[in-house]
């Protein structure tokens, strides 16, 4: 019984990682950049939802939508101002710019909302059936898992069966060729950032429902973990991010419960290293042979 409660906790944490990792992996797949500012967009999403619920008194669902809209706009603005001028530059230049954006968001949040933690009230809570509640399954966990699965299915369908999704896949494979086929590459990249940031907002709200304290650095550790999850599953692959996120969450929860609280993170990262040694491009990553 205790095992199940750890397992459920792991799955719900893993679902949050998976949602963040989906955003990471989409942006990486198309822009080939490590967007370190993604974790901070999550934090902004959490704060917007908090403010809208606490100060404006809006219902949870409206707050979530509001925070998604704000994050989407934020993501597109960041992309347009900071990343777009660097499309032709080396990947390190973009990486450092992303780090600059991450510092900026964290410090701006600190100026606006202060360093004192905000206590977030979970966005959902409904009574669970006795048996499930006894196994440690909370309403937040159920909503998180369902949301994650729904997002994953919608995204896969979108990418594989719509015209825009096709454009995205084309851009991620070869930007030059995609442009020649009449695809607006810049708009496709902006769209990807918009989707990724909207997902980050949802992840932010769910993360704050899972661990209710909200500070300006709330997003950075989950951001790194989700990045790890995306690499774990094979970066650029949508099902890979989903599986990677879930596995990471489960490993973390079980390691915390059965091995050591202090070393849970170290174990998560050690598993990542072992996986990458056996499969150097992650669980579902494609191997691209080098040509001379």
């Amino acid at each position: 019984m205790v095992f199940f409660s750890y397992l459920f906790s792991g799955i719900s944490l893993g679902s949050i990682y998976a949602i963040i990792a989906l955003g990471y992996t989409m942006v990486y797949g198309i822009a080939k950049m490590l967007n370190f500012a993604h974790g901070d967009v999550i934090m902004v999403g959490g704060y917007i939802c908090y403010c809208s619920m606490t100060y404006l008194g809006l219902p949870a669902i409206v707050s979530i939508l509001l925070s998604m809209v704000v994050c989407t706009v934020l993501g597109v603005v960041i992309e347009g101002l900071a990343y777009k001028p660097l499309r032709q530059a080396g990947s390190l230049a973009v990486l450092i710019t992303a780090i600059g954006v991450s510092y900026f968001l964290q410090n701006a949040a600190q100026l606006i909302w202060g360093v004192t933690p905000k206590i977030f009230t979970p966005v959902v809570s409904f009574p669970m059936p006795e048996g499930l509640a006894a196994m440690g399954l909370s309403s937040v966990a159920v909503v998180t898992m369902v949301t994650c699965v729904v997002i994953m299915i919608v995204l896969t369908t979108f990418v594989n069966h719509t015209k825009l999704g096709k454009a995205m896949r084309a851009c991620s494979e070869d930007k030059g060729a995609a442009q020649l086929m009449g695809i607006n590459v810049n708009r496709t990249i902006s769209l990807t950032f918009a989707i990724g940031s909207a997902l980050a907002a949802i992840a932010g709200v769910l993360l704050c429902s899972y661990t209710p304290t909200l500070i300006p650095t709330t997003g950075s550790m989950p951001g790194i973990k989700a990045f790890t999850a995306a690499v774990f599953g094979g970066i650029g692959s949508i099902p890979g991010a989903f599986i990677g996120g879930l596995l990471l969450g489960i490993i973390e929860a079980l390691a915390k419960a059965y091995v050591s609280t202090n070393l849970a993170n170290a174990i998560v990262f050690a598993v990542l290293i072992v996986v990458l040694l056996v499969r150097p491009t992650g669980l579902l990553g494609k191997y691209v042979p080098e040509k001379v």
């Binding site: 990486y28 490590l34 370190f36 900071a82 001028p85 660097l86 032709q88 530059a89 080396g90 390190l92 230049a93 990486l95 450092i96 710019t97 780090i99 600059g100 954006v101 510092y103 900026f104 964290q106 410090n107 701006a108 600190q110 100026l111 950075s220 790194i224 990045f227 790890t228 690499v231 970066i235 091995v259 050591s260 609280t261 202090n262 070393l263 993170n265 170290a266 990262f269 050690a270 990542l272 290293i273 990458l276 040694l277 150097p280 491009t281 992650g282 080098e290 001379v292």
Partner: protein, 356 residues
Amino acid sequence: MKKLNRIKATTKVDFATYLGVTLAFLIVSALQSGGMLSNAMNSWLVPICCFIVMAVSLNLVVGISGELSLGHGGFMSVGAFSGIVAGMSLAEAIPLAPLRLAVAILVGAACAAVAGFLIGIPVLRLRGDYLAIVTLAFGQIIKDLITCLLVGYDKDGLHIVFNLDGLRTVSDLHLEEGGVAIIKGAQGAVGITKMSSFTAGYILVMVTLVIVLNLIRSRTGRAIMAIRDNRIAAESVGLNVTKYKMIAFVVSAALAGAAGALFGLNYSGLVSSRFDFNTSIMVLVYVVLGGLGNIWGSVIGAAVLYALPEALRGLQDYRMLIYAIVLILVMLATNSDQLKGLLGRLIPGRKEKTNG
């Protein structure tokens, strides 16, 4: 004059770097002895030296060897804590403080080199962003492991306990009467005798520069750069890729360990979370803004960018915000094609550089 012309251009740059660092050291020392530096500025000197060494050593991996490493802070951490243990426990064996500091730095460098070798075996099998994420992972693992470490010493020697379940305390070290606990798990190292000085920092920077510049200009260095430029071509002319990458990685780790030891012995207390992901990223920012593969660029980048947020302290809450904006603007100005074209027209005669 004729003789001077025969010296290679790279050699001139190298000597200019040594000369520049020495001049900077002399000027700052003169200012310091003249009492021109505020207390705050005095406290920056040793960390600046440490971060110059960090940046130069990271440049060896990122710029010269061409592998993105996000875990350089981990090696600094290994060096810092092993250096602190050596510096504290050898207090009686080596009474002379500067010598003890030198031994501590060597111990820190050796431990970090071993860590670098062990980590290098799996890491160097991977490429690109996968390599980056694994170095990040190792940085985090090192941080967490040190959080679980309890170390003390008494007349029997060192006592080390690994606090896996989080329940052990200093009393589990079973120290004899008069024993001292050096590293106390999550509290980090406490009660450190400060030994570092600006002069020691200067010497370490110079030693680092001599090692790195000579390595780059040697046969080994050329091999490392050839592998960076085209791995397959280098392999096909018979270069052992793993060996040369490993040399760059281990030398870099050892130098980071030395910097860590100097850094650790500059404070009375130190926690392992001081060397987290952000520290590694900060050093990477110094390297990239200083110029990839450019050693004197790293020296200047580290010195200026370490001092900048400190100097902006007067702006209080806004300082990191301004730092972030400056960082983004500098990256945009130096890398964006449109802005480069604009600058090229404003400053006539400016050489067009290819993107690196």
